[in-house]
């Protein structure tokens, strides 16, 4: 416990709000673009006091539809997001966009280029577009993105779009902070569909074959349809995934399956599982705006499905649970790091292991012991 003045910086965990930050929050809620931009910077920087800001914003959030758009580089994400934003604006919604780009693991630098594609929303301040870079934080990116979305939500945006390259676990985590996830695929890229199998398939609520005027679009559409329908039987999809075609488990699932999401709403599975959403497969040509209207309708349908089936509560519960866990893990990790420093630093400890003076298990137990003691004494 330091002096009162430095408390905020001495304990970065504390979600206290300084006077200056309170004013910043007030400005944001009053509609200041500058304040919104500044808050997102603080969130990105993990700067002192940002926790207090996000904590203060939390009660003002929850009204925005949050949509994630992911896909391989060059699939047309930025162009599609631009057209989506324009279409939302046309029907009177305000839009926030968070575009996440990778940063160099060597210099930390990044060129954030998604803004170039935002040609349809020139000079329209009601589209708030923000580029973020990964900054090499482990697990921090999805937290930072989620917090930036909260800032846009609290500001009053009706729709918030998260755009990210679907490249790895980090990106999957990012896009999971959205309520509805669209996965973009390019036609003719068998490889893309292969990538999807590696994990992104599970997170898509909507699959979009963009550049659908290109050769091979029909084939890609058909492949996606097949994958989506195979996914419907969760246990069946687990094996034999490498064969091209399998004997259909439902001989009657012809072309009529697409509406099943709305159709079997009452049936559902046994137990308290909400009725399942069958992912839609759509086609767009982002350059011309073709298919964007249908895509938005599908987003709306998914949002309605989440609300009516009660799945939204499960989704939010899962997400907040993940946030709480990440924060606690990070904070407890910081406590442990401090303890390691007190004992001469991790390298000195590693050396003592190397000299066979001790072993990693004993060391870890020793360092966690005081933390564990506090937890145990609180419990009794």
């Amino acid at each position: 416990m330091g002096g009162t003045e430095r408390d905020a910086s001495a304990t970065p965990r504390s979600p206290e709000l300084s006077d200056g930050d309170a004013a910043l929050v007030e400005d944001l809620l009053a509609g200041s673009h500058r304040a919104l931009a500044r808050v997102i910077t603080r969130i990105e920087d993990r700067a002192a006091g940002y926790r207090g800001i996000v904590a203060a914003l939390h009660e003002h959030t929850g009204d925005a539809d949050v949509i994630g758009v992911t896909g391989a580089p060059g699939a047309g994400k930025s162009t599609l997001v631009d057209k989506l934003a324009a279409a939302y604006r046309e029907r009177g919604d305000t839009v926030g966009v968070v575009a996440v780009d990778p940063s160099s693991p060597y210099t930390g630098g990044a060129v954030l280029g998604d803004r170039i594609r935002m040609a349809s929303n020139v000079g329209d301040m009601d589209v708030f577009f923000r580029s973020m870079s990964a900054r090499g934080q482990l697990g921090g990116l999805s937290m930072a993105t989620a917090d930036a979305v909260k800032a846009l939500d609290a500001f009053g945006k009706d729709v918030v779009i998260i755009e990210t390259v679907g490249a790895g676990q980090n990106e999957v985590d990012v896009v999971r902070t959205a309520d509805t996830v669209a996965v973009l695929v390019q036609p003719g890229s068998g490889d893309d569909v292969q990538t999807l199998k590696a994990g992104i398939l599970e997170i898509g609520d909507v699959f979009v074959v963009n550049k659908a005027d290109m050769d091979g679009a029909e084939r890609t559409l058909a492949e996606l349809e097949e994958m989506v329908h195979r996914r419907e039987g969760p246990t069946k999809g687990l094996d034999g995934g490498h064969h091209g075609f399998e004997v259909p488990e439902h001989p009657d699932d012809g072309g009529e399956e697409r509406d099943s999401g709305d159709g079997d709403g009452g049936g559902g599975d046994d137990g308290d599982e909400p009725p399942e959403w069958t992912p839609e497969v759509l086609r767009t040509v982002a350059n011309t705006g073709e298919g964007v209207g249908e895509l938005i309708e599908t987003f709306d349908a998914h949002a309605t499905h989440l609300r009516e089936s009660g799945a939204i509560e499960a989704t939010k519960r899962r997400r907040y649970a993940e946030e709480i866990r990440t924060l606690i893990r990070s904070d407890v990790g910081a406590l442990a790091t401090a303890e390691i420093e007190r004992r001469g630093g991790i390298e000195a400890l590693a050396d003592s292991v190397r000299r066979r003076e001790t072993d990693p298990y004993s060391l870890a137990a020793e360092i966690v012991e005081p933390i564990a003691e506090c937890v145990d004494s609180d419990a009794t």
Partner: protein
């Protein structure tokens, strides 16, 4: 390497304003800034001053570098600076101009609030060094 480590980065907007379609220089600058560890937002070509202002405000950049080779700097730069002021963003944004600017105009631009003008042939290190030394203080 916790998720909560403070990770401040220098954010720059490299902007092309007006009808000038030469962006080789802007690209080179963007790459050099990236390699210096900055986060660079590139505006793309043919941007109107309002777009530059919109981008600078929303991205909350520390540095706005405007590249102009068309000679229209006396019309375009004041509009950008006016816009930044309108959103209370002028005070803590370092405004730089790069391109072919006559000496007399350079003085006028600085009068207006441009921190520095970099002509052709300026070594990249000089520009990066200038940014590092003149970063606006942030609350």
């Amino acid at each position: 390497m916790s998720a909560e480590q403070e990770t401040r980065a220098v954010r720059c907007l490299v902007a092309k304003v007006g009808l000038d379609g030469h962006d080789r220089g802007a690209h080179v600058i963007a790459r050099a800034f990236r390699d210096a560890g900055f986060e660079v937002v590139y505006s793309g070509l043919h941007r109107a001053p309002e777009e530059i202002v919109q981008a600078a405000v929303q991205e909350d950049v520390d540095v706005l570098g405007i590249s102009i080779l068309s000679g229209a700097h006396n019309t375009l730069v004041p509009k950008v600076i006016e816009g930044l002021k309108e959103y209370d963003a002028f005070e803590d944004t370092l405004v730089l101009v790069g391109g072919i600017i006559p000496d007399d105009d350079e003085d006028d631009l600085k009068e207006l609030g441009v921190a520095e003008v970099f002509g052709p042939g300026t070594p990249m290190e000089e520009t990066i060094e200038f940014i590092r030394n003149n970063l606006p203080e942030r609350a």
